[in-house]
């Protein structure tokens, strides 16, 4: 295992062996690191071309190749390494035919197209605390890549969607998509899962699921909170324990068969369920539209802070499970 360094301001030998001699570009790190290596990165890099991870992969035996953003002192504290595409080139970061790579604490902005483009025939990539914003198309895409895992990642103010994945088994944990010009989370392949994620104020919907699974998420302030897309698979879409609020057209648009929802909380949606086809509903609560399924018995479960739209539940009934009383921390920045 080799520890390597990237710093665009480094003035030494630029061979990646220390902060003083750090590589000047992330591309150099991507081209040289091999399985088991850790590449620490600090600063802001203004790029003239996409950073392309198309050379080396991690392995099961050797471990991930880890790229980790650091603060100015070189410490890992959540500070992101920034790729500034300066409105000049297509994608910010892309990768093709590489696998088992770990990106932690990275941000990409001002790419003409997608911020982080998880390319074809890649698998097993992990993204932690990565952000993509002000990009001309998507923030993050997984085009035919398999088994990507995103943890506490953030996409906002992108000109098309936030996250979109065409590859199976993409997992989003505690991620946030807000203020994008199309859909926040587009799950376009089977067996994709969003857990504890937040979609807020995206123009054309927050979550779009194709046999996707949505657990304890928040969908707030868009047109349709959660859309389930009709598909030919027998794999159901699930939405469980989620908070669906302030959506101007509907909370759910249920186009898939089958679709299972339960223990969700609805508030201030123009309608809570639309286009119900084969639809299995476990007790839900909230809402006032008489024709909808939320008028089943109030279970006392789900998110219940009706006056608070900042997603902090602030619920004090000790009889309710602790998890439901825990405020949701939003990675807004």
């Amino acid at each position: 295992m080799t520890t390597r360094y990237v710093d665009p301001s480094a003035s030494g030998d630029n061979d990646g062996t220390s902060w003083i001699n750090a590589y000047e570009t992330l591309q150099q790190g991507a081209d040289n690191a091999v399985a088991g290596d850790i590449v620490y990165c600090r600063g802001t890099e203004t790029t003239a071309a996409v950073v392309d991870f198309d050379t080396n992969s991690g392995t099961n035996a050797g471990g991930f190749i880890k790229f980790i953003g650091c603060n100015a002192a070189g410490n890992v504290d959540g500070t992101r390494y920034i790729i500034d595409c300066n409105s000049g080139h297509w994608n910010g970061i892309t990768h093709t035919n590489t696998s088992t790579v770990w990106l932690e604490n990275f941000a990409v902005y001002r790419s003409a197209h997608t911020g982080i483009a998880n390319g074809g025939d890649s698998y097993g990539w992990v993204f932690i605390n990565c952000a993509a914003y002000n990009c001309g198309e998507y923030g993050w895409t997984g085009s035919w890549s398999l088994s990507s895992t995103l943890i506490r990642c953030l996409v906002y103010s992108n000109s098309w969607g936030g996250f979109a994945s065409f590859g199976a088994n993409t997992r989003w944990y505690f991620c946030c998509a807000r203020d994008n010009s199309d859909v926040g989370f587009s799950s376009l392949a089977t067996s994709q899962t969003v857990i504890g994620c937040i979609g807020h104020n995206n123009t054309n919907g927050n979550f779009s699921l194709t046999s996707g699974h949505c657990f304890q998420c928040v969908s707030d302030g868009t047109s349709i909170g959660i859309t389930t897309i009709a598909n030919t698979s027998l794999s159901a879409s699930f939405v469980l324990g989620s908070r669906i609020t302030n959506n101007s057209t509907a909370g759910f648009n249920c186009n898939s068969e089958p679709f299972v929802s339960g223990w969700c909380y609805f508030e201030d949606n123009a309608d809570n369920h639309t286009n119900d086809t084969i639809h299995y509903v476990i007790n839900e609560e909230g809402g006032t539209t008489a024709s909808n399924k939320e008028d089943q018995a109030d279970t006392g479960e789900g998110y219940v802070d009706k006056g608070n739209h900042d997603f902090s539940t602030d619920y004090t009934d000790a009889t309710d499970p602790t998890l439901r009383r825990t405020a949701i921390t939003i990675p807004w920045t």
Binding site: D84, S87, W90, Y109, R110, A112, H113, Y133, N134, C135, G136, E137, Y156, S157, N158, S159, R178, D179, N180, S181, D182, N201, N202, T203, N204, W332
Partner: protein
Amino acid sequence: MGNYSFKTAGLPEPVNGIVEGHNFTQGVPHTTIYEGQTGLTFRNCNLLNCDVPADSIIDSCLRSQVSFCSHLHEPWLTVGYISACITSCSHLTVTDMVTIDGVAIDTNPNYTYEDTGVA
């Protein structure tokens, strides 16, 4: 921080002349926003397809101009964010011939989602 995509009215008021952290994406290239205002600074905004007042200071914003293809952005066409393209629009990359037993029976145009070559 806010999403003002496809809007030219009801935009947020500048704070001390600064507009910061918003998404102003427009469907049509060179759509004017904040028309008639002066002395503005745009910071960390998405200004895709936007034209801002000429004296504005632009700091860390996306400034690309893009022509979106209505063949591949049908929802945006439906709600009027973009206009309808003609069949042989600038996004057309190739037209495949559909043949049966060597006889051409149809054509199948292929488009790219957007054209980033807008001046």
